[in-house]
Structure formats: C-alpha cells, structure tokens
Symmetry: C2
Subunit: 132 residues, 2 copies
C-alpha cells in the first residue's frame, strides 16, 4: 500500500480542478482557472503538478502536455501508466488492464535492463469518432 498524502492548499485546489475536468487539463488553463483562488504564477501551478504526479494523484499525458486525475482505485500506479487517446476528439482514458500491466511490469529487454516505471500511450479513434 502507499502512504496517504495530505495535500497542501495549492495542491488541493489544483487537484480538485483536474479531478472535476472531463478532459486532460493543460498547465496554463489550470492557472487561468485558479487565479480567482489566489494562485497567480505558473510556478505555483507547476510545483503542485509535480507533487501530484509524484504521489500518483494525477498523471501527465506526455504527448499532449496535459494532466488528468488518476482514477485507479488507490492511485498505486504512478509508475505504470497507460492511456488511450482519440486523435479526433482528444478524449483520453486511463487503461486499467491487469494483463497489460503485468506484461509490461515484467518486460525485460535484451540487456536484461529492468524498469522501474513506464508510460504507454495508445492512439486511435474512440467509439464516437469511429461512427462519424
């Protein structure tokens, strides 16, 4: 199990915003949305984001420079993330497949290098966009 982290004020404000968002949020969009709550500078946002990523409450979608809340039960997967991304509507879904995570967690390359972490992003069309 993982340690519970008490979020600080800024971290909580920013987490709540991302958590409520139906889509990944970008840093400066977050900044814009929390300015009324007293968070005025990019660094305040980035620092909170860094911490939230570190403790697994949110994940960064690297190909989009955007952040989404982790919805895996207990956010234990900060080091093993997989997402599906629709290339039309940009909908992003976190994939939770036991098979996939087992396969990747145990994957070893030719040199026997063992990994402590991975991030996987799948691209394609979501159901809705396929039908259009």
């Amino acid at each position: 199990m993982h340690k519970e982290h008490t979020l600080t004020k800024n971290q909580q404000i920013i987490f709540d915003l991302i958590d409520k968002s139906p889509e990944p949020m970008k840093a400066y969009s977050i900044l814009f949305n929390v300015q009324k709550k007293g968070i005025k500078a990019p660094l305040q946002v980035y620092r909170a984001l860094d911490k939230l990523v570190e403790i697994g409450k949110i994940h960064k979608i690297e190909s989009r420079n955007a952040f989404i809340a982790c919805h895996n039960s207990s956010c234990q997967v900060a080091n093993a993330t997989a997402f599906s991304i629709c290339e039309i509507c940009e909908k992003v879904t976190e994939i939770s497949s036991v098979g996939l995570s087992k396969y990747l967690a145990n994957f070893k390359d030719k040199d026997g290098m063992k990994y402590s972490k991975y991030n996987l992003e799948f691209f394609g069309l979501c159901k809705k966009c396929t039908l259009k």
Copy 2:
C-alpha cells in the same frame, strides 16, 4: 512495405545530424547545429522534424521533447514505438522486441477500441548507471 521518401535538402541535413548523434537531440540544439548550413529559423527545423517523424525516419521521445533516428531496419515502425530511458544518464534506446510489439499491436481495451498507433517509454537505470 512502405514507400521510399526522397528527403528534401532541409530534411536531409536534419536527419543526418540526428542520425549521427549518439543521443536524442532537442529541436533548438538541432537548430544551433544546422545554422551554418543555412537553416536559421525554428520553423524550418520543426517542419523537417514533423515530416521525418511522419515518415518514420525519426521518433520523438515525448517525455524528453527530443528526437532520435529510427534504427529498425526499414523504419516501418513509425506507429509502434518503444524506448528505454535511463533516468540518470538519459541514454535512450529503441526497443525492438517482436513479442512486445505483437502484444501491443493486438491489445484491445474494454471498449474494443482498436489502436492505430502507440508509444511506450520505459524508465529505469541502464547497466552502466546501475553499477555506479
């Protein structure tokens, strides 16, 4: 099989530079290195990079905003990329594992969404850095 692409002058200059580099190169480092060859503006670099990525001659390491040449025999894997990244020395290696690529190419999520593309980045310590 894939169509052979004749690279344009700018594309060739930039590809050659990346191809010779032992490590992933960042866009502005590329720009700096090709200025003597007449490529003066960021856009010229980004346009060539976009094209080279599109045709599979190079790949973007999303978590690093950097580019490496594809070393898979015929660059057929523009849509299916996997890399290992050392978190200390930042060495990046393209993984070519038939098992892995088969597994991922056939992966379907719960909704049956089929993917046309994926990018996987593993993080850990390379051999050298493990021994330190």
